[in-house]
């Protein structure tokens, strides 16, 4: 596809140990329509971070770009100091719950075991006891041990989400990225998921969560980023959680930007 303004950045090794994730002027578009405009931020190491924004503000797109699932139009991303391709084994991703078919014939245990894929590659190299230990621990952490042998089709929304979380925990990573883990989740599951996330932070891991609820966001995240297709603010919660930023994130004061997006969508040749 013709992309008129593509600039290829040469990724440089970052030696900053305090940064776990950095986006440099990241722009992403879907068949011509821009959905992210020059996102530029650094996420510090060891924080429980949240991404806040209205529907259609590009939160999921940002996560997908970070995970290397989408090709950015411009700009670059560094995860744990290197390109995502090299850092994949150290990043654990929890996609949106709705992204899979929950009628798939598979048990809870089998889904969680998928998290062990990278740790146990090659068909013949099997260290099952370590795997089982990890699976046990992960299920224990999300309190789903008793569902181990159950079909995933029998789970409630909150339980499904906890299974996804257990799969991510099974992969020992340094950065955990979660897409809307609280969407359609009951109160008790929500509490369990929060406690797991805090526990990860206490172990020195970094966590990045796409989130909706402002109340719990303020209480739980120590780093926040507000976006509305462009970056509004990113930083410590107490610094960026302001009325002004909230208004920018949820209000539609940047009409011109969406107007331009719309125009570009209908432009032939892009």
């Amino acid at each position: 596809m013709f992309q008129p303004f593509t600039v290829v950045y040469k990724p440089q090794k970052m030696n900053n140990l305090h940064t776990v994730l950095s986006c440099r002027d990241l722009s992403v578009s879907y068949s011509g329509k821009p959905v992210l405009w020059s996102i530029h931020f650094d996420m510090p190491n060891g924080v429980l971070g949240g991404i806040i924004g209205a529907n259609g503000s590009g939160k999921t797109t940002l996560l997908k770009a970070i995970m290397g699932l989408l090709k950015p139009q411009q700009g670059s991303i560094q995860v744990l100091g290197s390109l995502i391709e090299e850092a994949k084994s150290r990043v654990s991703y929890v996609p949106q719950r709705e992204s899979v078919d929950w009628n798939f014939p598979i048990t809870v245990e089998e889904v969680v075991a998928m998290g062990r894929y990278q740790a146990r590659q090659g068909t013949w190299r099997k260290n099952k006891s370590e795997d089982n230990q990890m699976i046990d621990d992960s299920l224990e952490k999300v309190e789903m041990t008793s569902f181990r042998k159950q079909q995933i089709s029998q789970l409630s929304g909150g339980q499904q989400q906890r299974v996804f979380l257990a799969r991510a925990l099974c992969k020992t990573a340094d950065l955990y990225i979660l897409d809307e883990p609280f969407a359609g989740v009951d109160a008790s599951s929500e509490a369990k998921i929060w406690s797991v996330l805090h526990q990860l932070k206490n172990e020195g891991k970094s966590v990045l969560v796409v989130h909706h609820d402002l109340q719990t966001a303020r209480e739980n995240f120590d780093w926040l980023m507000f976006m509305n297709t462009y970056l509004i603010a990113a930083g410590k919660t107490e610094d960026v959680f302001t009325d002004e930023n909230l208004r920018k994130a949820y209000g539609s004061n940047e009409n011109f930007l969406s107007e331009i997006s719309q125009t570009l969508t209908n432009k032939p040749g892009l």
Partner: protein, 413 residues
């Protein structure tokens, strides 16, 4: 049995098993329709291969078939990516277009060399009996390779089928796996085309997995069942078509597999129709009986204002005609001097229904703060679904109540 027949049976069984395996994967990938498109797209390449080689030289035919099917797959993918067509429309275009082209080639060829046209229509409907040693050998080798390949990539395939996005983030190339699987579907269809025919080979992929999904609840289990059904269906189809004259293999195999699907729909353990219907009927009958007993109880309560429990046994009751016999069989009613009366057992049942009704009304009123005018309808429904355990819980929750929100007496437990 002669060797030729055994050879054919062996080829069909192996083919059916492999088709069952690949079909499960296509089914779980939600690409069942694509396999239909792929198998129809085999035809033009098959006929061209025949025309170029001027014989039924197998490698030529198979390579031609696989190539044209691959082009079809690419085209449907290209159409989806570069237009606003949905996948079913794109597959429809490829399916119809390629098949039309194939039949055109076929009829042109038949007119061109009228002396040697016999056997060409077996590409359409299949004729397992015409399988030669070479063909069976090719089928066996390709099938074994496909199965080994699947087993080797088992973990990747499983993760990819369940969650392609996650697979990508775990370092599995979803694109590569999906291409490998697509190639497997094409190869399976190509080697089976002479035995089953281009039109129906896709059913051999789809039907076993559809039936297997109803029986197996685990990934491995489903695949194992699909493989067994595929092998059995193909073998049975071949046997029937070889045994009786003028029975093309393709339709027979498909009919055998189709019957298995039909039977599975009726009797599968998870939600087979027979189980569903019988459960529904039992439930309906239960509700209707409970309503009858309740009506009789309320009749006595309203007309005779009994002050003790024994009075309920002393007054005659009337039940609907069709129900009377059943209630008698269940021992709920007894006949004394031309009239029917509650038996002890029947009274316990009736009391239980009334109790559940009134407890539920009280619960809605006390705990959910609903006005007494708005609690009856919900109780009419819930009285049939609360069990003995819930009854006890409600009793304790409401402190062993004596009367419901309409000050009617709640029969004590």
């Amino acid at each position: 049995m002669d060797t030729q027949l055994l050879l054919v049976f062996w080829g069909c069984t192996v083919l059916g098993a492999t088709a069952g395996l690949m079909g499960s994967s296509a089914f779980l990938e939600k690409k069942s329709l694509l396999t239909d498109g792929l198998s129809h797209a085999l035809l033009p390449g098959l006929v061209l291969g025949y025309w170029i080689s001027q014989s039924k030289d197998l490698p030529f035919l198979l390579v031609g078939a696989a190539l044209s099917s691959a082009i079809g797959a690419w085209l449907s993918d290209f159409l989806q990516k570069n237009s606003k067509l949905s996948s079913d429309a794109a597959i429809g275009i490829v399916l119809g277009g390629f098949f039309g082209l194939g039949t055109l080639f076929l009829s042109a060829l038949q007119h061109a060399e009228s002396g040697n046209q016999s056997g060409l229509d077996q590409f359409l409907f299949g004729k397992a009996a015409s399988l030669g040693v070479q063909h069976v050998l090719i089928i066996s080798v390709v099938c074994i390779l496909l199965v080994c390949h699947f087993v080797y990539h088992y973990r990747e395939v499983k993760i990819y089928l369940f969650d392609p996005v996650y697979a990508q983030t775990a370092g599995i190339s979803s694109k590569r796996i999906s291409r490998l699987l697509l190639g497997s579907y094409i190869l399976t269809a190509a080697i089976g085309v002479q035995a089953v025919g281009a039109i129906l080979i896709s059913s051999m992929l789809i039907l076993p997995s559809v039936a297997a999904r109803m029986w197996g609840s685990t990934f491995k289990g489903m695949i194992a069942i699909a493989v067994s059904i595929g092998a059995f269906g193909a073998l049975a189809g071949c046997y029937i078509s070889a045994k009786f004259a003028h029975m093309p293999t393709g339709p027979v195999v498909v009919l055998v597999l189709g019957s298995i699907v039909l039977i599975s729909l009726f009797v599968n353990p998870a939600n087979g129709w027979i189980k569903k219907w019988s459960l529904k009927t039992i439930r309906r009958w239960q509700i209707s009986s409970e309503n009858q007993l309740k009506a009789a109880y309320l009749h006595i309560e309203r007309n005779y204002h009994p002050s003790s429990r024994s009075e309920y046994l002393a007054h005659p009751i009337t039940l609907a005609g069709y129900f009377n016999r059943y209630a008698q069989l269940r021992g709920w009613i007894v006949r004394r001097s031309q009239s029917w009366y509650f038996s002890e057992q029947g009274l316990v049942c009736a009391e239980s229904v009334v109790r559940k009704h009134r407890l539920w009304e009280l619960y809605l009123n006390k705990h959910l703060q609903l006005h007494p005018n708005h609690v009856h309808l919900s109780a009419e429904w819930m009285e049939h679904f609360l069990g003995p355990r819930e009854e006890k819980v409600l009793m304790n929750l409401l402190d062993q109540p004596l009367a419901d929100p309409h000050s009617k007496q709640i029969p004590p437990l």
